[in-house]
Amino acid sequence: MNHDAKPGAQNPEQLIAQSPVPSQAEMEFRIDRVWERLGSGIPLQSSTDLKGDPASETDWHSNPIKRPMLRPVVILACAVVTIAAAWFGIARRFVTNRNVYAIVENEDGPQYRVAAGQIVATDVWTRLAVTLPDGSRVEMRPQSQLSVSTASDGLRVRLDKGGIIVTAARQRSGHLYVDTKDVTVSVVGTVFLVGVEDAGSRVGVLEGKVQVKQGESTRMLVPPGQMVTNPMMELPALREQVAWSRYAKEHLALLQQDAAPIAAKQTEKPVQITQTQAPPKPPAPAAARPQFEVASVKRNNSGGQGMRFDNRGGRYSAANASLKFLIQQAYKVQPFQIIGAPAWIDSERYDIEAKAEGAEWNQMAPMLQSLIEERFKGAMHGETRDLPVYFLTVAKTGSKLKAGPCLTREPNTPAPPNQPQSAFCGYVGIGSGSVILTGQRIENLADFLSGILNRKVLDRTGLPGAFDVDLKWTPDISTPSVKQEAAAPSASDGPSIFTAIEEQLGLKLESGKAPIDVLVIDHIDHASDN
């Protein structure tokens, strides 16, 4: 709000033009938060109410909830187009398409059927399987979108975004085609996967063979071959690309069969997936994992908000802890990395008392995993997903971070007198709307910000070495991580954390997307008292 004159002295239009503009990063952060709050209230509609392309502006026109009145001109235009289509034989195919139905299933079995041309889409939490009229099964990973129609000699799946694994039924006389924006894959009976990204498409084969047509060129793919339409795209191992599937074991078994005889001829290009952080440890079988000697789990119905926990002296003690907090500790993940969990894991509170004589905290985390799997019937797996992130970059003003001298001291030795704690390297001081870091690498600052913003912050500053950070901002009491600070008084007109980072550190948060390792909760249950 940088106005330079009184209202009367300026044109009102100039004043309106000078209205405050939110920073992109902060706006996206708050929009995401509103979306999270809205999440629980989205209406449950019949799938038949949802025909049409969700990305289309005209989508509302086809919504039967309230259809705007069609103007005579539009009706006339439709009639002309229909007659013309019939003349060229298009209408006949459209009529045929209406008889094609695919069955959409989730883990609970068949849910509904979709007609030709109708969009099937999955959100970030959902995997679906679509059974085609010929018996082929199309598994959809989260955030995918497809439609099914007839082809002149079979069926055609149009994949608009996301990824699918197709287990094609043996075709009697026709073909099954999968179209993306830049390739057409045709098969007669096989298992293969197709993915669509902004940069292009990818195709991989697990069994049988497929023909891939890109523009004028055609090539055959056999297991465990895969290709991308854009050489800039990464080519992760096939086994990683099928990990999300309900039938991952079957797919992996196919890959292992293929691997032995063909390995010498055709190798799966080993490309490393970009690791943005330490991945959540894949849960090992509970029997092989260390367990607490004795553990007690009790519901805490006090209604209090504060949590306490202690892991010293060979004991693990948590009071009034949410299950989400326990999962965070056990699997070393942040809240935004936990996917697919029911809401109650954040609200239901437990008291845990467990004993593991002589165990350090690092040894207790797997024990806590065992406890969650046994008492809460927890089942979970790790995945990598494209999620919204913030990139920490250097602002236009340049970095204001300074690397001051800091004191080092041996572990378990008392601090010298008259020396503040913040003078020692590695110091972390966190208050309500403030953080002081001494002699810390920039990655540590990014991790700290991840906790505050509830979204992964990735360091893109390229700043080497260790720095001192003294950051102060006005905590937003509606930010989940600072709810506990709500009682603390704060100036309502202080800088937000986005502004503070830019002004005080010369850094900037820019929103984007990146592959993030997440912990997917497949099943979790309420624990019963001992």
Binding site: P7, E13, P22, L38, H61, I65, A121
Partner: protein, 176 residues
Amino acid sequence: MSAVVTSDSVQRYEEIFKRHAPLIYRTAYGITGSHEDAEDALQGIFLGLIRRDVPADLARHPEAYFHRAAVNKSLNLLRARRRRRLVDDDAALEQTAADDPHTTADSELRHRQLYDAIAELKPDHAQILILRYMHGKTETEIAKMFGVSRGTIAVKLFRSRARLRKLLRARLGEKP
């Protein structure tokens, strides 16, 4: 949201939210000058969509509908805030002025006076002014959004500017 059978409806709702939320947020923040109010406006508009059938004017032109909703919601928030100010206005202003007497208080006061005046305009006049001068839309673009001729928009803009100047002068005690 967890019901898989409705994943396509959720997806569709999310697409619409993600596409139009920035416009709503920018409009609401520009008017209210407050992130909290902008969040409230955005949430209120989409909660309204959940609780009732899709309005016909949303079907005709989503961008126009959401812009109109954002302006109306934000001005309502300002009106509510103005009613509260009748109680503690002086203390709040003194506090603001004490923080940064040369910038914060002046700019907030100007912003408040401007939008208090805009809140007194006819709703469609306020909407057109904000589209034209906050979002930089051309008269032709606005006409397309509202489904009227460019001339109609030009006339409304002229009248709303004149009315706004008058209201601002009255607030400042200036002679016309």
